[in-house]
């Protein structure tokens, strides 16, 4: 028995992700109106403070990095490797590029393997404060590390994350959005993956008024791999969005995308747009993307748009799936028939649904904390 009502994608973008214009100059982008392909489902009105090309407030964001050993001297715009993999695709991203004079530069040295995650705490100090950031995370050859970006507090925050995974390195990058209710957050992640290298990228969005995290991964090197995971829980009035892009450029690359979301409450809104491009030379590509949403109450809306572009016929496999559904009555019945109340049965089912992602994070303490945060969301507590 299927849990979901399979739905056909409601709309196919006229412009593919690979054709999106990029520029480092905010003046090259018009302010979004909501008619554009990449803003069509977005909450443009509430994101509009991020369309203003102005300096950030000096005290908007508090950063804490642990351990500090991996922090290098900051990078000015144009100072390598800043900009090696990053090309702003929209206005907030171009503004964040331009307005960040000193980009945080994290380097995992060649050959180094660390178990202990590198924690970057990003705390917003006020809902009315404007913050910009550009982060460059570089995993040098044959290194192995986990980096966690934790967003809390509140701010109007435009953020770029540039990720360089050098040959044969393995990086896990987790970004957690546990903002307060009034935070506005637009984030662009752009990663390039070298030969035999891999990236596990995880987006967990629970808090914030409007959160838009758009990861883009270029599988450039031969035998490079990316696993992109996402879990989100939207409450009443929340807008949580992810536009995911995987570009298979090199030969024999592998891409896996799985985003799962739960929605609860009036006007809870989630957006997932998943684009996959299998380039001309990307023979042997193995690619799959899927998005699953569980709509828990009336009045919530999940938009889900998968899109697959294939420029070579010689591939291993490629597919996509998108499904948005309500509770599976059979699952609820089964649990209730064992004495479990309806309310608790629902909690178990949703928790299980999202835990599939959380269980794959690979950082025990974080997974546990996030499981609890999801639990709190479910009992309608903190957001």
């Amino acid at each position: 028995m299927s849990t979901y009502i399979e739905t056909e994608p409601s709309f196919v973008p006229v412009q593919t992700r690979s054709e999106r214009p990029t520029s480092y100059d905010p003046a090259d982008f018009d302010a979004p109106t909501g008619r554009e392909v990449d803003w069509k489902f977005s909450d443009v009105a509430r994101l509009s403070p991020l369309f203003e090309d102005a300096d950030g407030d000096p005290q908007a964001i508090d950063y804490e990095i642990e351990p500090e050993a991996f922090v290098q001297a900051p990078l000015a715009p144009g100072q390598a490797p800043r900009g090696e993999a990053f090309h702003p695709e929209d206005l907030p991203s171009a503004i964040a590029w331009k307005r960040t004079a000193e980009a945080l530069h994290l380097v995992i040295p060649a050959g180094l393997e660390t178990q202990e995650p590198v924690r970057v705490s990003i705390r917003g100090l006020g809902a009315q404060l404007r913050g910009h950031a550009h982060l460059v995370i570089e995993a040098q050859e044959r290194s192995r590390a986990i980096v966690v970006l934790e967003h809390t507090g509140s701010a109007r925050f435009a953020e770029n994350v540039e990720v360089l995974v050098r040959d044969h390195a393995a990086l896990t990058l987790i970004t957690v959005q546990e903002w307060e209710d009034d935070a506005i957050h637009a984030s662009a992640h752009q990663a390039v993956i070298g030969t035999g290298a891999s990236l596990k990228h995880v987006v967990v969005s629970l808090g914030g008024a409007v959160v838009r995290v758009n990861p883009s991964v270029r599988l450039a090197g031969e035998h490079s791999e990316a696993q992109l995971l996402g879990a989100y829980f939207a409450d009443a009035g929340q807008h949580l969005e992810s536009q995911v892009y995987v570009y298979h450029e090199g030969r024999n690359t592998k891409g896996r995308v799985l985003y799962k979301g739960a929605l609860q409450g009036a006007s809870a809104h989630t957006v997932w747009i998943g684009d996959v491009l299998i380039g001309r030379d990307a023979v042997g590509t193995d690619s799959y993307e899927q998005n699953r949403n569980l709509v828990l109450t009336d009045g919530a809306r999940a938009d889900s748009v998968p899109n697959l572009e294939i420029e070579t016929g010689d591939i291993e496999g490629a597919g996509h799936a998108s499904a948005t559904g309500r509770f599976d009555d059979e699952q609820l019945f089964y649990l209730q028939s064992r004495g479990i109340t309806e309310e608790e049965a629902r909690r178990l089912v949703v928790r299980g649904f999202l835990l599939e992602i959380v269980q794959q994070i690979g950082v025990e303490s974080l997974a546990e904390r996030l499981a609890q945060a999801i639990e709190a969301e479910l009992s309608g507590g903190a957001s």
Partner: protein
């Protein structure tokens, strides 16, 4: 002693063609410790009866009663029925992604008993019950029924039966899809539950083979949504030889009468 009493039960289901009546006046009384076998042709309504007792929302009761020691079962929610002591081992157990068997069993046990089981004895109880049912310990950490084979799902149902200790259990084709060894193992589980708690059992089956392990006190022939004949264990043997032809004739006659009434 407890009594589960079903009187003149009538149930409908919504189909694309409209409302369809499935149960047409079921009468059945099961007392503590009794084992009742229900046999009948495909589509006669056996699973519908099982689901109606458990309270599946798909089925609407349009007439009759179900009581447990005089309490109105039909007025109870699904979980209330389970807490009142009713259990259904399903023909097709449901998969619950992301919920481990361990977590599920403990949650269910806590719900049924009204308090959390003692941590120490509980995990021992679970482990022992699994060993007796020849379930590998890895099934504890796996998600409920997810990726289980048909036979493994059935064992998992009986595991719950043994751990949750209901007063009455409906076993819907628990024997279907089991190999000969598994049939024996699962039957032993049912018999253990029967002996340990004087469980009353409604055993739905197509085959007399399971009745060699689980000895019924009564056999009911279920045809066209109601009990067509009742007897002792020997009735099962006769059905195995003769099939249901005898009853089907009567059924088409009844259908004809229905059609006339409607016309």
């Amino acid at each position: 002693m407890s009594v589960l009493e079903i009187r003149d039960l009538q149930t409908t289901v919504e189909t694309e063609q409209g409302t369809k009546q499935i149960l047409r006046g079921v009468d059945l009384t099961v007392k503590t410790g009794e084992i009742h076998a229900i046999m009948g042709p495909n589509g006669s309504g056996k699973s519908t009866l099982a689901y109606t007792i458990a309270g599946h929302p798909k089925y609407t009761v349009t007439g009759g009663t179900i009581t447990l020691d005089g309490e109105d079962v039909l007025a109870m929610t699904v979980d209330e029925r389970a807490r009142a002591g009713l259990f259904l081992a399903m023909q097709y157990p449901v998969e619950i992604p992301g919920v481990t068997n361990t977590n599920f069993l403990r949650t269910a046990k806590t719900a049924i008993d009204g308090e959390a089981p003692s941590i120490r004895t509980w995990s021992k109880d679970v482990k022992e019950a699994m060993t007796r049912l020849r379930m590998d310990s890895s099934f504890a950490a796996r998600n409920v029924n997810e990726g289980f084979s048909g036979g493994e799902k059935k064992r998992n149902e009986i595991l719950q039966l043994e751990l949750l200790k209901p007063r009455f259990a409906v076993l819907d084709e628990t024997d279907s899809g089991l190999d000969v060894d598994a049939l024996k193992i699962v039957s032993e589980g049912v018999n253990r539950a029967h002996e340990a708690t004087d469980l009353g059992i409604l055993l739905i089956t197509h085959y007399t083979r399971i009745l060699r392990y689980i000895k019924p006190d009564f056999v009911h022939v279920f045809v066209a949504g109601k009990v067509a004949e009742e007897g002792g264990p020997d009735l099962a043997e006769r059905l195995e030889e003769e099939g249901y032809d005898r009853y089907q004739v009567a059924e088409s006659a009844a259908d004809g009468a229905d059609a006339l009434n409607v016309g």
